[in-house]
């Protein structure tokens, strides 16, 4: 099976959900017109990134939100799956940085960002709660996994999704560009190239990485969205720094070929990993063999 993916490398407006929703609907219509089966937006695509005290103002309740309903409706009307980002408020009033996958008018999966960077230029942990579930999920286009930006810097996230059967990894990102010394290009862009390629190559999966562009209070988001095939080769790359809606392709046959040439997933030893992790876990948290879960 082959399907067409649109990388929606947009420039969200900080804190203006209605303008961002309008932009989403415009991009969805445009990409669907060009034959997209799946459209992937960046992290916090409905809200912008440096939300701080705007978090409660821009948050949606998944079941009741008119914004989410509008995107569900667009997925049905244009017959296209959509992954987008926003702030989700849970029933217990915790706020999450979430990625939502909708298809044919329904919410298929929600991923809550696992790792909230709270250091340097980042302060997510002050405003948001961290998710604690990472699961692959089935879609009409195959089994997928979603991660959000910093999640991808923890290789365990990708490992778990790959072991859980994800063939296509969507990474929604708001990655700031930095580093104009010592490199020919932005240092952060090179780091993302390494991470997305190695993830695809190590697990023979497609990595669909969508990063936003634009400035927020002087910080620049660098774009450079890309599809990396299961051999670790970028197949389409969006420009740096500019808005773009880029069409690419996922070809399941490539996954089969990669996994035939490199049967690394077949050879993966979950028992070994579990055993060793359990040993490390017991030592790290000073547990005794009689503790629950050991």
């Amino acid at each position: 099976m082959r399907f067409a993916v649109a990388l929606a490398q947009i420039r969200p407006v900080l804190g203006d959900v209605s303008r961002n929703l309008a932009r989403h609907l415009e991009v969805i219509a445009q990409a669907a017109e060009q034959g997209a089966d799946l459209i992937v937006f960046p992290e916090l695509s409905l809200t912008g990134y440096y939300l701080e005290d705007l978090v409660p103002d821009v948050a949606f309740e998944l079941a009741r939100s008119e914004v989410v309903a509008a995107l569900r409706e667009a997925s049905a009307r244009h017959r296209v799956d959509v992954a987008f980002g926003g702030v989700e408020v849970a029933e217990d009033f915790r706020f999450f940085n979430s990625a939502v996958y909708v298809s044919q008018g329904e919410i298929v999966h929600v991923h809550r960002k696992l790792y909230l960077p709270t250091y340097g230029m980042f302060d997510e942990g002050r405003y948001l709660a961290a998710g604690d579930v990472v699961r692959a999920f089935d879609t009409r286009l195959g089994r997928m996994g979603m991660l959000i930006c910093e999640d991808m810097w923890h290789p365990s996230s990708v490992y778990l999704l790959a072991q859980d059967g994800a063939r296509i990894l969507l990474c929604l990102s708001a990655g700031p560009g930095r580093g104009v010394r010592g490199e020919t290009r932005l240092g952060s862009v090179e780091a993302w190239e390494t991470i997305t390629r190695s993830a695809a190559q190590a697990y023979m999966i497609y990595v669909v990485y969508v990063n936003r562009v634009g400035f927020e209070d002087g910080a620049v988001f660098s774009g450079g969205s890309v599809i990396v095939d299961p051999f670790g080769r970028p197949t389409v790359s969006a420009p740096l720094l500019d808005e773009a809606v880029l069409m690419g392709e996922v070809d399941v046959e490539e996954i089969r070929r990669a996994r035939t040439v490199y049967p690394l997933l077949r050879d993966e030893r979950l028992d070994l990993v579990l055993r060793e992790l359990r040993r490390i876990y017991v030592r790290r948290y000073h547990l005794s063999p009689y503790d629950e879960g050991v």
Binding site: L14, G15, L54, V180, T184, G214, G218, L241
Partner: protein
């Protein structure tokens, strides 16, 4: 004064990428000006390298027709400052205004004839701020500041004077990097090679006032600020301890200039404490 060459290898800025920096800064100015509803920028053009670079970047970002350079000499300013500024403006095709600050500054100091040169320098810098902000309203143009990372970090600037601006495009570039960017942008060599000066009185020199060359100062700041080395580590690497401590102290003592004024915390939600929004809120 120490020179960068005394420090041995590994301290040069040869890896700085001026083309990439220029692209990012042009985009920064364009986006941060236009998204808040402006099309124009106004800046003070002194004839020095910093404002020449900001004029280049602003002209690229907003177009020369939307870039207003204000030349604001004082009677003791070096006469070549105005001619050098005019040369930059002509090269770029940007709009210029000449506003002499001498009568305004003199009028003020008739009330305080004994004021020392620090006070006089501060008033000159703030008089220029008054003019730029007045023209900002008159022209509907945002004030584009010319402060660089080196002077911001050591506090070599007048708060609410030359530091007053809507944005500092050079605020993350050290002076030595600004010089490289100037060369890349085609700022005339004459301007790039001038000894840096606030030009508040005849013969004033940044490096003499600071007691250190920009080469050495920037090398120390990179180690302390960007690479987070300790003073002790710098001394082990061959830097003069007293000099490093003096630079670290300049950074600490000038921190108030880089922050908004202190506000008490006595209500449930207080500005500067727990009322947190970015400037770009909604834009």
């Amino acid at each position: 004064m120490m020179k960068a060459s005394d420090l041995g290898p590994g301290h040069a800025f040869d890896a700085f990428n001026p083309a990439l920096a220029a692209e990012l800064l042009v985009r920064f100015i364009r986006e941060e000006v236009t998204k808040v509803g402006f099309e124009r920028g106004v800046l003070g053009l002194s004839g020095g390298v910093d404002s020449a670079v900001v004029a280049h970047l602003t002209a690229r970002a907003l177009g020369p027709e939307n870039t207003y350079a204000v030349l604001m000499p004082y009677r003791t300013s070096d006469p070549t400052s105005v001619s050098d500024a005019q040369a930059v403006a002509e090269q770029l095709g940007i709009r210029t205004l000449l506003v002499e600050i001498t009568p305004m500054v003199e009028a003020y100091f008739e009330r305080f004839p004994d004021a020392d040169r620090i006070r006089r320098g501060n008033v000159m810098a703030r008089m220029r701020m008054v003019i730029l902000y007045d023209l900002s309203a008159a022209l509907r143009a945002l004030v584009i500041g010319t402060s660089n990372k080196t002077e911001l970090l050591v506090g070599y600037g007048t708060i609410y004077g030359d530091m007053a601006a809507a944005m500092w495009p050079l605020g993350d570039l050290y002076k030595t990097e600004v010089r490289q960017l100037a060369e890349y942008l085609g700022v005339p060599e004459r301007i790039r090679r001038k000894p840096p000066t606030a030009d508040l009185w005849v013969g004033q020199s940044d490096e003499e006032e600071l007691g250190i060359t920009y080469d050495v100062l920037d090398a120390i700041l990179v180690e302390l600020v960007d690479r987070r080395l300790t003073v002790e580590a710098l001394v082990r690497n061959g830097y003069d301890e007293a000099l490093v401590r003096r630079v670290a102290e300049m950074v600490r003592r000038s921190h108030f200039k880089r922050r908004t004024p202190l506000c008490p915390k006595i209500s449930p939600r207080s500005i500067g404490h727990d009322f947190r929004y970015k400037r770009d809120w909604g834009s």
